[in-house]
Amino acid sequence: MLKLTNVTKTFARGTVNEKTALAGIDLHLEKGDFVTVLGSNGAGKSTLFGAIAGTFLPDTGSVILDGRDITRLPDYKRSKHIGRLFQDPLKGTAPGMTIEENLALAYMRASAHTSPFSMISKADRAEFRDRLATLGLGLENRMDQPVGLLSGGQRQALTLLMATLVTPQLLLLDEHTAALDPATAEKVLQLTKTIVSTHGITCLMITHNIPSALSLGNRTIMMNAGKIVLELSGKTRKEMTAEDLLQAFHDQSAISDRMLFSAGC
C-alpha cells in the first residue's frame, strides 16, 4: 500500500543550521493498517508526513503509494489520494465558505470523474447532510453557515469528514487532537476511530498520548533523530503496557540527549 524505502532529508545542508530530519526511513504499510507514530519533538514525525504528502522532495529514497511511485509528484496531485489533518484546526477548512461549500470542494476535488465546471447536485447535498449527521454535532442543520463560525473542535471534525468524504488511499493525522480541549479531543478521536474502521482507511497518526498510541490502530512506531527506532505490532504490541512504552520513549530520548551533549563537547 505505502512503501517508503531509505527516505532521507537534510535541511539547510552545509550551513551551521544543518539538520538531518530523516535519516533513512524504511516503512511498509499494508492496506487497512492504522499506525500510531510516537516520538519526541524534532524526532522527524512531521517531516516523515511531509515526505509522504509531498511538501518537499526527499534527498534520497522513494515513496510508493498503491504501486505508484509518487516520490517526485507535486503535493497538490498527491492530495487527491492522501487526506491530511494538522494540529491547527484552522488549517483544514476555508472560514469564509459555508459548510456545504467546504464539503463540495472536498468532494469534487477527490472524485475522479468531475470536470472543473461540475457543480454539486441535490443528491450530493443529501449525502453531505447524512455524512454530517454521523458526526453527531448538529452541523447538518447549519450547512449554509460559514465555517468561520464553528469552534475549533467542530472545524477539526469537519476537516476529518472532508478528508474522508471520498475514501482516501491514505490518511495522515498530525496530532490532530492536540489543540482541542480534553472532552472535544476525545470526541474527535472517537470519530477518527469510527470513520477509519468503517471505511477501512490506511492511516498514520502522530500522537503524544502513549495510552492512545497503544489502544488505537494495529501498529505503533517510535521515531527518534530521524529514524524509526521501535516497531510494535501483533502480540508484542498487545503485551506492551503504557509504562513500558513510556520507559522506552525516555530511553530513546536520553540517548539522543547524550548524543547531543557529547557532540556539543
Binding site: Y76, K77, S79, G92, G96, M97, F117, M119
Partner: protein
C-alpha cells in the same frame, strides 16, 4: 435639478463600469489580490475595441478585447506564480508595459475617434429605440454577474474561492494555487477589458488615459455595494457590486451638478476607498481602547 438624461446616463455608465467592480470582486475580495493590472487592461479593452470597431467589426471587438484582457491577466499571474514577484508589483509591471502596448494597438496615437464608426449601440438603435444604450449595457453586466455567480459554484470556482480564503488549507488540498490564481486573474481582467471595450463604443472614443484610476473607482463601487446590501451569499455580493457601481455614478453626477470640478473626483474616490477599507481597523482600535 437632475434631469432624466442625467439619470439615464448614470445608469448606463454604472452598468458599464459594473464589470470592473465585478472583476475586482473576483481579484480583490475572492482571491485577496489587489490587481494593479486593472487600469492597463481597461485601457487595453478600450483600445482593442475602438481599433476593431473602426475596422468595421464592433461586435467582434468585444470578445477580442476580452481575450486581450485575459492575456494581460495571464502575464500578471505568471509574474506572480512562476517568477514569485509580489502580487502588487506584478500588476504594476504589467500595467506599465501595457501603456506601450495600448499605444501600439491604437497605431501609436493617444486616441482613436469613432464618431462615424458603427458601434454596438448604433447597430441596436433601430430595434431598441430610446433604450438602445441602457438595455445592452444592463444586459451585459447582469449576464456577466450571473455567469460569475454560477462559475463560483463550480469545482474550479470553489477552488479559486478557497485559494483566497485559506492558503494553508489549499496547500494541503489537491488545488494547484498557481492555476487557480491564473484563472482568476484572467477572468477578472477579461471583464475589466470588456468594460473598457463597451465604454469606448459608448463614448465613441478611446483614449490612452481612460483607465487611469480605474482600480480605485472599481473598489469604491464594490465597497459602496457592500455597504448598501446586507452581507449574504455570493449572488447578493455580485448584485451589490453592480448596484454600487450605479450608485457611484449617481454620486458623480450629483457632484458634477454641484459644479464640483471633475478633477476632484479621483481624490474623492481615493478618500472613499481609504476610509471604507480602513474603517474596520479604526473600529477595532477604538474598541480596544474602551
Amino acid at each position: 435639478m437632475i434631469s432624466t438624461a442625467v439619470i439615464l446616463s448614470a445608469l448606463e455608465l454604472g452598468c458599464i463600469y459594473a464589470l470592473v467592480a465585478l472583476a475586482l470582486f473576483l481579484s480583490f475580495r475572492i482571491l485577496n489580490i489587489a490587481d494593479m493590472t486593472t487600469d492597463g487592461s481597461f485601457t487595453l479593452g478600450c483600445a482593442v475595441s475602438a481599433t476593431i470597431a473602426v475596422a468595421g467589426h464592433p461586435i467582434l471587438a468585444l470578445p477580442v478585447a476580452m481575450a486581450a484582457g485575459a492575456t494581460a491577466g495571464f502575464v500578471t499571474a505568471a509574474l506572480q506564480t512562476r517568477f514569485r514577484i509580489p502580487s502588487i508589483l506584478a500588476g504594476i509591471i504589467t500595467n506599465t508595459g501595457l501603456y506601450t502596448v495600448n499605444l501600439a494597438v491604437m497605431g501609436f496615437s493617444s486616441n482613436v475617434n469613432m464618431l462615424k464608426t458603427p458601434t454596438l449601440f448604433s447597430l441596436l438603435k433601430p430595434t431598441l429605440g430610446a433604450g438602445f444604450k441602457l438595455i445592452p449595457a444592463a444586459l451585459i453586466s447582469i449576464l456577466a454577474g450571473l455567469l460569475l455567480a454560477a462559475f463560483l459554484k463550480t469545482r474550479l470556482g470553489l477552488s479559486i474561492r478557497a485559494t483566497g480564503d485559506n492558503p494553508d488549507m489549499v496547500r494541503a488540498s489537491s488545488i494547484n494555487t498557481a492555476f487557480t490564481v491564473t484563472v482568476g486573474l484572467c477572468i477578472a481582467n477579461a471583464m475589466t477589458a470588456l468594460s473598457g471595450a463597451v465604454l469606448a463604443q459608448y463614448q465613441k472614443t478611446a483614449d490612452i488615459n481612460m483607465g487611469t484610476g480605474m482600480v480605485i473607482i472599481g473598489l469604491a463601487s464594490l465597497i459602496i455595494g457592500e455597504t448598501i446590501l446586507p452581507k449574504g451569499k455570493t449572488l447578493v455580493k455580485i448584485l451589490g457590486a453592480i448596484l454600487g457601481s450605479i450608485v457611484y455614478r449617481f454620486i458623480i453626477a450629483i457632484a458634477l451638478r454641484l459644479d464640483l470640478p471633475s478633477e476632484c473626483l479621483k481624490l474623492i474616490s481615493a478618500v472613499i476607498v481609504a476610509l471604507a477599507i480602513g474603517l474596520p481597523a479604526l473600529k477595532a482600535a477604538r474598541k480596544g481602547e474602551n
